[in-house]
Assembly symmetry: C2
Homo-oligomer: 467 residues x 2
């Protein structure tokens, strides 16, 4: 696998991007009009100056039916760097349209991690064909990466890195780096290894540059390092990079031997995805990828909606217990959604805070009790305030003191339920090693719906409002 | 401002951390017990081997009332690196307890960006006193950083960096780096500037290391660079780092002169925060910071809950229009929350996807129409499926064909409303430059509640079910 060249990254000229670094719609339309008009030359000329990340965006912004024509017009510009930046679904469709030897040519240009990202989504048969078309070194590297489970450090790492023995001096390192044409050119740290190839230290390049030639590498390196096991989940890799502000880190196999490195630019998009996916999971929108085939999206969302339909029917059956009271006093039906809805809103607030705090490791066993107490106090304050407001409003509008007291009391009760459920449910799921973002919302809403209806209609029945 | 030393970063010994890199609760309790027992020596001994990020976590995990005692016991361990890693609220309380000259000593150790982060939250008077206690160079650097608005690149950047003229050779650079003791030791790239100190190129250290001494810097550097204006908002800085996979970037003033650099480790937490805050904003939980004072949290959440109370009352008033029908046929009150609730769930799904797609620049003007069409198709498919399911269920349970048809039709209508509102509302707010994450949910829920009740109760009235 040859190294990427030095001067390849060309940021897009300012003029094609708006102030948020998005491609301007005029630019996208102009390129697509040229493609539609069959003027591949004009399309290519406009796209050529773009940064790979912007070319990838252009392909994503193009309607699916126009993508093959666009890809044909700018085929030489869609290199490995562009593919590596592209949305999985869009890339898969593009790669499927290529011959295996074309994919092999692209993969051979890339670092292992980017090559693996392109190849791992292919059918097993196509994958085999691409691997056969690669030269033996590249093939071995990619096959080894593919031997690690998906979404682990082993898939994420690149094998191109610099490792030197600890008895070397700074001068040895400089000579080695200058002499060997085959070495990678893009790295931020070098790894110092013992004779068994186990990492013993890490050295920032700036420390090497600032040290005299005669100094020993082992005197410059940092001995304490954050090693990444090759089978570590990529989420944990991302959290570790974030927590310790790492730029690159050594990946080790089960025997503690250095097998690759991960650089921060490979995990930045994971950090962002992981942080952003909670909102999608909490709402039951799956991956929430706008490039996903519509049928798959429908299936994911429907699954969640059917679960919610079950809880909605459960809540409705609670209302069903009070049909007699409602028939006698229909105002109960008018006011009951306020109690359940407000509980739902309050529960969602608590849930969002707790899910984020769990995801960022701010909420651990050490402060769970404090968190429960904190949310209880907040729920009590919110419930009391809202209860007074809705009670006063009900009194003013309908002039029925018993009804005002009942809705105020139900509001307090349901806010407390919302606050407690909003903490206890995600924390319990987390302890059970179930992703709280995926499954908490349905339980919390069920609690606030059922208890909202039950407390309001139940209290009203107890005090005899419906009678 | 002296540079940070080489070997300072000590990751915590594995044993004190669980598999998710969180401090084990036993460890936290042991330290806090030692503190409570007045055994500062024992507490300090346990904390000393921890990484600064873990010491910051320990302080955050400690109950607020115990933090002063912990801080006193491990005061020499709470250095600038620990403070830089700490939650804003927790840090502010700690820093408030220190004398200005202590803060100045800590700030003097740090790079500009970290020093600014600590000083910017202080009262104006205290800030002045800390600045006076600093030596003139440090003071000037920090004062200039503070002159940029909060949350801009100017606050985020550090002034410690390496800039060299373009006529230098690789050899000149090496000699310069080795000779000048005062230079920063931690950097990943060097910046090449013209005589007016405007950046003309960037050079990865690995390219310098791999080039012979005689080569000119201008032949090694990359001319195309992503420059960051000093007044750019930090969110945009983070998006730019993410999009172009930057490790460090030059910050320029309005005259295009190099004034500082931002490194990826300074923006990684912003990337994560920005991605994670949508879930908090969408639920109306504000910053969702669990270290925020409770009263502030109550105020933020109540504001949002009161807005929702308004929409809940609006929805209730729609139900109020049909009191007569409900009194005659209370089953309507039992089933109506299913229609409104399911619309709310479907709307939230669409909303979450659209808010994320807007935040990640995947949804732009170029593909908005396609997105609306996509969500419409999904809503139609989901609505039809759910409508058939609930219609069939209603028929089986209650045996009233008209009621089954009405609830099925209302379900379809409300799903379509949910899908359209879920796209159109956030997209419109985004065009108006209003953060869609903050204000969309209340409008979407209002639409699905109102239209859910209106379509179900209205259709029921039309076909004469209540009569």
């Amino acid at each position: 696998m040859s190294d990427t060249e030095l001067h390849e990254d060309t940021p897009a000229p300012e003029s094609e991007l708006d102030e948020d670094d998005r491609l301007k719609p005029e630019f996208v339309s102009a390129v697509l009009e040229a493609v539609a008009a069959g003027d591949a030359e004009a399309a290519r000329a406009r796209v050529a100056p773009l940064h790979p990340a912007d070319i990838a965006d252009l392909v994503e912004l193009t309607p699916a039916e126009l993508r093959p024509a666009l890809a044909a017009a700018i085929s030489d510009l869609i290199d490995g760097d562009v593919l590596a930046e592209m949305n999985d679904w869009v890339r898969e469709a593009l790669v499927d349209a290529l011959e295996p030897h074309q994919v092999a040519n692209i993969a051979a240009e890339l670092d292992t991690d980017d090559a693996v990202a392109i190849i791992e989504d292919m059918d097993f048969e196509d994958q085999r064909e691409v691997l056969r078309a690669l030269d033996p070194d590249d093939r071995a590297a990619i096959e080894e990466a593919l031997s690690y489970p998906e979404e682990t450090a082993g898939r994420l790492m690149q094998r191109e890195m610099i490792a030197v023995p600890e008895h070397w001096t700074v001068g040895n390192v400089l000579d080695y780096l200058r002499a060997d044409e085959e070495l990678t050119t893009d790295f931020w740290e070098i790894f110092v290894v013992d004779p068994a190839h186990r990492p013993v230290g890490t050295c920032m390049l700036s420390w090497i540059l600032r040290s005299p030639r005669a100094v020993s590498v082992s005197d410059v390196m940092k001995r304490e390092q954050t090693l990444i096991p090759a089978d570590m989940d990529q989420e944990e890799v991302a959290l570790r990079f974030q927590k310790y502000a790492l730029i690159s880190a050594a990946v080790v196999d089960s025997g503690g031997r250095l097998v690759g490195m991960i650089t921060v630019d490979d995990v930045v998009h994971i950090i962002s995805e992981e942080a952003g996916e909670d909102i999608l999971r909490l709402s039951g929108a799956g991956e929430g990828d706008i490039n996903e085939p519509v049928l798959l999206t429908v299936r994911t969302r429907l699954t969640w909606l059917f679960v919610n339909l079950g809880t909605a029917m459960l809540a409705a059956s609670v209302v069903g217990l009070f049909q007699g009271e409602i028939a006698k006093f229909a105002l109960l039906a008018v006011l009951m959604p306020i109690v359940s809805g407000m509980g739902g809103n309050a529960g969602t607030q608590t849930l969002a805070v707790v899910v984020r705090a769990l995801a960022t490791n701010q909420l651990t066993e050490s402060n769970t009790l404090r968190m429960i107490f904190r949310e209880f106090r907040i729920a009590a304050a919110n419930g009391a305030t809202l209860g007074i407001a809705i009670g006063t409003g009900t009194m003013l509008i309908y002039g029925i003191p018993a009804l005002a007291l009942v809705i105020a009391a139900a509001m307090v009760i349901n806010n407390l339920i919302a606050g407690l459920a909003g903490v206890l449910i995600p924390v319990t799921l987390d302890r059970l090693r179930i992703d709280p973002a995926v499954s908490s919302a349905v339980f919390v809403t069920m609690m606030t719906d059922v208890m909202g209806f039950l407390s309001f209609l139940g209290l009203a029945t107890l005090v005899g409002i419906g009678g």
